[in-house]
Symmetry: C2
Subunit: 397 residues, 2 copies
């Protein structure tokens, strides 16, 4: 059984901080710094170029990917690490479109993370083949699922409200109409149980700097369903996805399976740090993470609604419809969040008025939640947010 009291000890938690923003950037696992020292000093510094063989840097993306695979219900060998989430969206969408060459509609929704929509828009422009990208409201997606659609591309958990799409149901509806699915798991991986194989998802992508605690800008991942893995000709056909990268052939020949989703030289230091971060997930049962996340979230909602009536819930009230975050509308949300952060309770803000709080059972417990609510109550009910220093907008929100 997962002991969250134990996992909490694996993280570096600054004094006086209650961190409810692991959905944006996960906390620092203590193992990460030690691993950085190993990969930088012992491997790069000592082995130099030999590190590619002696430390098998070449397959580090594979090793890390298989650890991520366990957390998202994917078989060994079906996930690959590298690049950024935006790049992985591009690869997945291009591959998905190629599997449905006669159709010209992509359906996403307005709850998708903007970068996914931007990447899709860029690809559609580049392809210049009359593709239409439809971006309905999340609850209208189902009504657009018909036989004109090539690809359904959704983020499972809404980055603002935590509203969760039903991956299994939507994938089944899509498949019934011959549609290929691309799921963005940015707010799912490590947040909720994901069963990619069981849900028959075709492609999935995600980042590792949120719930997986890989550090700022940590590498992304891509999943390709085993039955598709040898089909798509990669849009980004780089040498690491070549069948024989060190033959230095002039012609590209894709590697077998998800290996072809590799592109350039892998970011070894970042991957090693992520690998160390994943140690905290060893033996952790995602069903228990989910149970704890719901317990913490429900406690938070109950307490905030009881003590801060000017905040209104922006997330679904039904816990099964949410990811691992809770958002509230508050007119002065930006300033209120700054006031909270100044008092050591870190969440974040999303325009126009959303105060967002993430729950990460690996290092957040009930006492953290209760303390956070106490601070929030003070900030809201004493109008502490109404001070000039909290109004100034930072570059990054």
């Amino acid at each position: 059984m997962t002991s969250f009291a134990t996992t909490k000890t694996l993280f570096h938690i600054p004094d006086g901080v209650i961190y409810l923003d692991g959905n944006s950037l996960g906390m620092l696992p203590k193992a990460a710094l030690a691993r950085a020292q190993t990969v930088i000093f012992d491997q790069w510094g000592q082995q130099l170029i030999k590190g590619w063989n002696e430390s098998d840097w070449m397959h580090l993306p594979n090793r890390v990917a298989n650890r991520v695979a366990r957390l998202i219900g994917a078989p060994v060998g079906s996930v690959m690490m590298g690049d950024t989430l935006s790049i992985k969206v591009y690869q997945a969408l291009a591959a998905a479109l190629s599997l449905n060459p006669e159709r010209r509609v992509i359906v996403s929704d307005s709850g998708n993370f903007p970068s996914d929509l931007y990447i899709a828009d860029g690809l559609v422009r580049l392809l210049d083949k009359g593709y239409t990208l439809k971006v309905p409201q999340p609850d209208e997606v189902e009504s657009l699922i018909d036989e004109s659609v090539a690809v359904l591309m959704l983020t499972e958990v809404d980055y603002r409200t935590g509203r969760k799409h039903d991956m299994q149901r939507l994938t089944a509806l899509a498949h019934a109409k011959g549609i290929i699915t691309v799921w963005d798991l940015a707010h799912s991986a490590g947040a909720i149980p994901v069963h990619l194989l069981e849900a028959q998802a075709d492609f999935a992508v995600g980042c590792t700097y949120k719930y997986l605690n890989g550090g700022p800008g940590a590498p992304a991942f891509i999943y390709v369903a085993p039955q598709h893995a040898n089909k798509p000709w990669p849009a980004l056909s780089g040498w690491m996805g070549h069948d024989a990268p060190f033959a230095f052939d002039l012609d590209y020949r894709p590697a077998q399976g998800v290996e072809r989703m590799r592109v350039g030289t892998p970011p070894i230091i970042a991957l090693a740090i992520l690998d160390a971060a994943l140690d905290a997930w060893e033996g952790v049962d995602m069903m228990e993470v989910r149970a704890s996340s719901i317990q913490l979230s429900e406690l938070f909602i109950r307490e905030v609604e009881a003590r801060c009536p000017s905040l209104t819930l922006a997330s679904p009230r039904d816990a099964t419809q949410r990811g691992s975050q809770v958002s509230f509308h508050f007119e002065h949300g930006y300033a209120a969040m700054q006031a909270l952060i100044a008092r050591g309770v870190i969440g974040d803000f999303r325009a126009p008025d959303i105060m967002r709080f993430g729950f990460t059972p690996l290092y957040i417990d009930e006492s953290d939640v209760l303390q956070a609510v106490a601070v929030l109550e003070e900030v809201i009910n004493k109008n502490l947010w109404d001070r000039p220093e909290y109004q100034k907008r930072a570059a990054v929100t």
Copy 2:
């Protein structure tokens, strides 16, 4: 004046190692480990999500890019860091093609690094508009420069032989025919003086893990000539290249200038390490690096030819026609290189028979070169390569 005796002290050099492979993976700068500690522990660990503002992670790619810019003759604000070199090739080539929409020929050459050719092939397939990718021998490139060509895409310095294209001359010839140029500086940046602005190069890309010592898989860079910077609609239109990434608009609107070549969330830890690595380049004059590189290379060639007659020079004999590496043909090159490496002299091997040695004045001096030749002489003249343990091929060469 650059003191290479001083720069050498900035690197961690393992005992008993003479490293002539900085053209493949640069040595570890001592500052890198300390910076890793800062960015991981003090910034990620303590500031958490606030690091984006408090440590201005958001503009770290810009700050690092401007340091790289100085080394490649590019103005401030014309270079951007991120992703891998293969991704940057894709962005540059897609942008270059879009500036020449009526033409359908891309000219590269067989001396280009295969990944660049693979990426071009993938883009051509995806575009599906009848583009032809021509891959002549390097000395035939000039004869293909005519008004049918949209883009001339070359690596300035050949990864196997060190043969150097004349960037200024070929760019001028290309421009006279209305061709856009894309230059890969993988073996140029930090190796030889590069004058992108003066040469009127249109686009350039490069990696930072070779001569710039950023570590295995360090982020890549892209240069866009100022007059083009606001023209291309990015093929990889990610949120970090949006004009207002934190407005979270549903529609993409490219940022001004080279900023639009950003894609996903930047790899902060890797960029911070690269930034520290670039400290070794502070005050270093690329003309002096070049002078020292030529001196070391000429000494190496002279000594090897005098003492190892079974090796034949694969690089141009004229130093002005070479980058900062020297290659020799040797029938048993693979095994000989393994024997050398076993004796602490690290170079590398490129099929079919090339022994490759890189010269990096920041941390290699005349005494290193002479010692390396002494070991090479022993390996070759005593047939030490002819042992079973040196025949076995490693996964990565």
